[in-house]
């Protein structure tokens, strides 16, 4: 079974992770633009970050047989820095048209401040203009209220619900998202957010329709193999193959295909690997023998 991790920050991960992910069956990832653990203070830092998401990181993934897609946005946390907001929002149109950019995200709320609300609204308009779906982060603190506010924002802006993926759901927020008509993502984390056991229970209760799971692995304690590990747990607890495949492959493909930028035939084929390739003169190899699989 092919697996798609629809939310993972590969920029923070190692080549060992790429190898382990490929070995576990992950063939495609979506990397949403987020923050880097410590706030950036110059727009130039975003410019280089966005460029790396469509450049080096995409190349790096390809060297391990993984297709790399990304979502671009000013994230909710850094949306609170008045020295950044206008400049980063102005930068986004330069990137939203590029290959591999299949959504606007992560947008949404962190503390639900007026500045977050403004950035959320403006980026919904950018998504409309570039005909992209949106990946929406939900707050860690005051989650239920924050999710309700998020869904209300989407309604106020009449953003088509089938083009919305609301992420980091819990037992209490999943029903709200499904009821709204949007897609619901779940971040399977070692301790916080959602875990494998609880996720299987949610799948048994709600089925597979518009439900996705992801590792949300980043620079913190997190696990880039949480999608395959949750698949294994679903099998052990008797979830049928059709349901599993819908959650870990068909749903993410269908959601991001709304960008018009996924080549569905190409996605079905095994990815080619040619580690002899260079990116701006750089190779992922450090003296190893190049793997070539065409």
């Amino acid at each position: 079974m092919k697996l798609f991790d629809p939310h993972i920050h590969m920029t923070s991960r190692t080549t060992d992770d790429y190898q382990a992910m490929a070995a576990a069956g992950i063939v495609a990832v979506l990397e949403p633009a987020f923050w880097l653990g410590q706030p950036r203070t110059h727009v130039g830092s975003f410019e280089d970050y966005f460029a790396s998401l469509v450049g080096w990181e995409r190349f790096r993934a390809s060297q391990f047989g993984i297709r790399h897609f990304c979502a671009m946005a000013l994230n909710p946390k850094e949306a609170n820095d008045p020295n950044l907001v206008d400049w980063v929002l102005a930068l986004l149109p330069r990137y939203l048209g590029k290959d591999g950019v299949v959504a606007v995200g992560e947008i949404g709320f962190d503390e639900v401040t007026p500045s977050e609300e403004r950035c959320f609204a403006e980026q919904l308009e950018l998504a409309r203009r570039f005909e992209l779906p949106v990946l929406v982060h939900t707050p860690h603190r005051d989650k239920k209220r924050g999710t309700e506010r998020t869904l209300a924002m989407l309604r106020e802006h009449r953003f088509p619900e089938e083009r919305v993926l609301v992420d980091h759901n819990t037992e209490e927020t999943l029903p709200l998202v499904l009821e709204s008509g949007g897609w619901a993502g779940h971040s399977i984390y070692p301790r916080t957010k959602m875990d494998e056991e609880r996720m299987v229970t949610l799948v048994q209760r709600h089925g597979a329709e518009r439900i996705l799971i992801n590792s949300a692995a980043d620079w913190g304690v997190s696990d880039p193999l949480k999608v395959p590990k949750t698949v294994a747990r679903m099998r052990e607890r008797g979830v049928d193959e059709e349901t599993i495949e819908t959650i870990v492959w068909r749903n993410p493909v269908a959601f991001f295909a709304q960008s018009g930028r996924l080549d569905l035939t190409e996605l079905e084929k095994p990815a080619t690997i040619d580690q002899r390739e260079l990116w701006e003169g750089n190779s992922v190899l450090r003296g190893q023998t190049a793997v070539v699989r065409t």
């Binding site: 609170n80 503390e111 401040t113 860690h140 603190r141 005051d142 239920k144 209220r145 209490e172 609880r198």
Partner: protein
Amino acid sequence: MTASHLLGLLEPRLDPATREWLSRAGASSSGNALDASAFLEAFAMAGRRLGQKPLGTPEDTLAGLGLSLAPDTRTPALLGRVALLLRAQERLEPEGYEALVAACYRSGDNGERQAVLKTLPLLHHPERFLALARDACRTHVQPVFEAIACENPYPAAYFPESAFNQLVLKAVFTGVPLARVVGLERRHNSELARMAADYASERRAAGRDVPTDLTLLSPGASA
């Protein structure tokens, strides 16, 4: 509190060369006037020059100076940096001083940032640093978060309700005992009680234990 009070506490514990360094720290090489780049250099160097080993300074000595610090943060480096910031305030016009504090925080490492945050409530017109203090609450670096959230009267005195509530909830999230949040009783509000009750409900739905401190915010939270 003035810089000299704090320097008076610190100086007897320093060797003569370090005392001399501290007395000139932040001044331009040609004279006594404060020079921003010399100051930033000294502010960074204070870690190595003054040392990071906590002093056995008693709580009430510091409290007498208006400073409340957890025992493990009572280091000569932190006290020295607070003194440097207070001394700079006496020597600079408000505008230049605000830019200097912002620069100390922006390019500061974790220790420098902690010192800036501990200094905020001691400054003239502390409310002008509200944006900086709120930004500090978004950090993931726990000692920096605790420098603003714990033993610090600033948030209770100057934060609007929504920002204060976020700080309190983040303290619970990160396992900080709420007894360390200054002024919580005075700033407690119904929205904070609602947030705590919702968080308890989220934890229960996930089959997880409910932090006992939540009952301080919402008496029914642990039920």
